[in-house]
Amino acid sequence: MKCTHTIAGMLAIVGLGYLAGVGHSLVRKKPVILGPALVTPPAPTDDTPDTQPDPSAEDAELNATDSDFDPKLDAPVPDGMLTLRQAFAMWNDGAYFIDSRHKSEYDEGHVEGAAHLTAETFFTDEGEAQMQSIPPDAPVVIYCLGGDECEASKNTMALLQQSFYTDLHIMGVGYDEWADADLPTASTEDETGDTP
């Protein structure tokens, strides 16, 4: 019988937790979202082609830009994301960069001038301070570790969309590729003069 009572108690705890969760969802002001509403197409730049490299038409793309092709800058990226060349062009144009990797990785090295903003820090004082420094209509490039999924960038993008940021882009390659291409980087220690 004791076993039955224990199981009944466990079910009661789960039921109470469910009711508390439902109540919590009703009083929470912002709805929980799971991803960006849509992936913003990349901004065309003067020194880049108008369209994203399509893996299926990769050969044609390579031929078209044969003279300028750089395996690092023009590495193929998932649909709707910026190549390294496009991201660097936006960096040169003064776009805001957001690093959505872990804080320790950001402290170790990040795109020069990039702010640190992740889903974990978004609703904190640190996150709010970062967002106040970025106008909602400014071009923003978000990056993480890169790759097909790049979930951290998509999550940050979704939260920024919810906060009415409009000109959002995801860099299809990660910070390591940026650094490998000898593009401008900095560490928190460089920027603040303090050890993180």
């Binding site: 019988m1 004791k2 039955t4 009572h5 224990t6 199981i7 009944a8 108690g9 466990m10 009661a12 705890i13 789960v14 109470l16 937790g17 469910y18 508390a20 969760g21 439902v22 919590h24 969802s25 929470r28 912002k30 929980v32 979202i33 799971l34 991803g35 872990h102 992740t118 889903a119 974990e120 820090t121 978004f122 609703f123 570790l145 790759g147 097909d148 999924e149 979930e151 999550n155 939260l159």
Partner: protein, 189 residues
Amino acid sequence: MSSPQRSPLNWIESVVLQMPLRVGLGGLFVYAAFMKLGNIQAFAFAIKGFKVVDADKHGHLIISAAYTMPWIEMIAGVLLVLGIWTRAASLTIALMLVFFIAALLHVIYTPGIDADCSCFGDMNLVCSATVGWCQVNRDLVMLLPAIYLIWRGGGILSLDSLFKPSSDANSETQGSKAGSTLDDDGIRG
């Protein structure tokens, strides 16, 4: 008439094992729940990152879990710390830990998933943020006291025990006429 649970050995077990394990394990779960409730959105992203269910098809399940799981942790943790319904709270926590371990193993053994644990919100307790064997071992270590508490109950220094003598007395004086007693979890049966 003294209860058999009040022997010196039971006192020692309660002081040395049951109470520290209750407070430690329950406190950890309360802390984990508090950190998750502080940022439900990040926890929802973390659940999505585990890819146990397809976020496009079953996003509502992920959002439900993001709201419900921290509250279950919170309620079970508080009950465990106080020593109310100790066995039921321990069973809840044990089942959650088994579920967490299964989810962690899913991430570890599925190629291409690079998920963050988010087990304690954005705090990294013992292990790093990225899912790995460290988190599995940590959950296995937490599973041991949960199983022990399911077996032995909350001990003398729990509120379960505080309410038990009177029910024992009732059951002893009223015998089978009452037809109901309170077990260690204080649930009338």
